[in-house]
Symmetry: C2
DNA sequence: GCGCGGAGGTTGCTTATACAACCATACATG
DNA sequence: CATGTATGGTTGTATAAGCAACCTCCGCGC
């Protein structure tokens, strides 16, 4: 049976597609970190956001953290609503009345501290899964694509 | 001002976290492929699923494609409902009454064919963005993590 | 001082994903 | 054959994300 155009397209895509491979990698790593953080009721993306807010310090606003993580503003908006509801982030007025100043609450700070060893365990597991070379390549790639990435 | 434990944790996580980097990479690539496929009203993950079904041929069932792509069965279930609604996938009874045989419809086959050149363009763009070495590393990593991955 | 464009955020809608709980069928074993 | 367990799918719920449309406020140009 000769291969049809659709069959040839399918073979090529299945063998090479970078999008599905990146998605696959993300799912694999996600499961490691989610499992590790579950005892704290903390999701991996929430930890990333808390960390970005902590690091931005006085300058922390939704726009600023969105830029650091390359997240669309609506995504940041909704994530922040959850973090506020959980009592980990406080929103304060800023000089510019359009903007919002963000800060970790005491509970948010404690959560980051408590997450640290769990994150480390996940990070070790992830590094072991990928291998040191691939892990380093992923980090280097991030720097190349977005030098100021911080998450 | 001495760095607090939370600040040190944040610095370490922001500088190294592999989970957030994989997520970031996925978002970047997603935007390339989504943009390319948009004219067909086709999402990248839908293309991945159509391809997996095409390649599985007679053996295509939700469980089989889920294994090939390492997707949770509920994810596959809902994605298939959409693909059916769009008229790209047909569901047929199988010998085992629990299972469902999947097949592309004629429209589904045409969609894969039409997607091929658009996917190629996105793939070229993605490869250029990552660089050949990183692209090859991502592909190699996928093989290592899941030798039968096909998406 | 007025109007307008741009920046900052929110909300509606859709897709992608996982986990858990569930239902139905198949199969093996007593 | 009856029952219990495993397999295959669906559904409820929640998070993660983008796009588009919108509102508000800032600052600039006139």
């Amino acid at each position: 049976m000769p291969r049809t155009p659709a069959a040839r397209a399918s073979d090529e895509i299945a063998a090479e597609c970078l999008a599905s491979r990146a998605r696959f990698l993300d799912r694999r790593l996600a499961s490691i970190y989610e499992r590790a953080l579950r005892p704290l009721g903390l999701r991996r993306t929430q930890l990333t956001l808390l960390v970005a807010i902590a690091r931005a310090g006085e300058r922390a606003t939704p726009t600023v953290v969105g830029r650091a993580l390359q997240l669309e503003k609506s995504t940041v908006s909704r994530e922040l609503a959850r973090l506020q509801a959980l009592g980990w982030v406080r929103v304060e007025p800023s000089p510019d009345a359009r903007a919002q100043r963000l800060a970790l609450t005491a509970a948010g700070t404690r959560t980051v501290e408590a997450a640290h060893p769990l994150w480390r365990k996940a990070q070790r597991e992830a590094r072991a899964l990928l291998g040191d070379r691939a892990a380093a390549a992923l980090a280097a790639l991030t720097v190349r694509l977005h030098p100021r990435f911080a998450g």
